[in-house]
Symmetry: C2
Subunit: 140 residues, 2 copies
């Protein structure tokens, strides 16, 4: 549905399809009572949760394990002032199940940072919202 | 300085130089006690504050006027697993000074959304942090 401001709300399936197209998104959380944000590479799991791979000792894991966070990804094109953004909101938790961990070691994301073995963090896709900005298509 | 995880911390000047290169960043704030994030086009003002243009009636303005928020921008390149991200943290406020408003109408950003006259929101760059991931340069 096109809104007054020129944005179109995306349904869950459109959001998940777009999310699967990009390699990097941003974890949005609270750290020391301030809004915090960290870009990470990720993959979408079969249940539509977002999976990250990071260091077990990272401040990120400490801050978000067991906590509701948001995860945002987008793509914008400046010449046409168009693009989309998707936000997944849900509880984040470190994957502790050995079978799940083994599966993710084979098929899950591998951090672009040097994190050693690392751990996998799953963000449940409890709420998925998105919007698309159709843009000017190069005209005024 | 290169960290163990392969990231290099960027100084304030490097951060501001990178921030000036990209048209879109993300406001990170709290809405109804949940972490929230909204991508917007922006410009850097001469005092290194981040300036946005949005609807006076927007939920964003309501949520962030007078509040400390974060503003993030980044660029990543998947084939080399490299990129950078910068986070500005500071108080956001609607620009109310008529002289400032007039100057921003001439030289400030114009929202990519349809917002009518809109208002300008300034995020002070009280804290500016950034990091760079040098990546694999195409090798393993």
């Amino acid at each position: 549905m096109l809104q007054d401001n020129g944005m179109r709300a995306l349904d869950r399936q459109e959001c998940l399809r777009l999310l699967a197209k990009v390699p990097v998104g941003r974890v949005v959380y609270t750290r020391q009572a301030l809004p915090a944000v960290l870009p990470v590479n990720f993959s979408l799991d079969a249940d539509s949760s977002v999976v990250l791979h990071t260091s077990a000792a990272s401040g990120l894991v400490h801050a978000i394990d067991g906590v509701v966070v948001s995860f945002e990804a987008d793509e914008f094109h400046a010449p046409t002032e168009s693009g989309w953004s998707v936000v997944v909101t849900g509880r984040a938790h470190v994957v502790t199940d050995p079978v799940e961990n083994e599966r993710l070691r084979r098929t899950g994301p591998r951090s672009w940072m040097r994190v050693g073995d690392g751990v996998f963090v799953r963000i449940e896709s409890e709420m998925v919202t998105g919007r698309e900005l159709a843009g000017t298509c190069g005209s005024d």
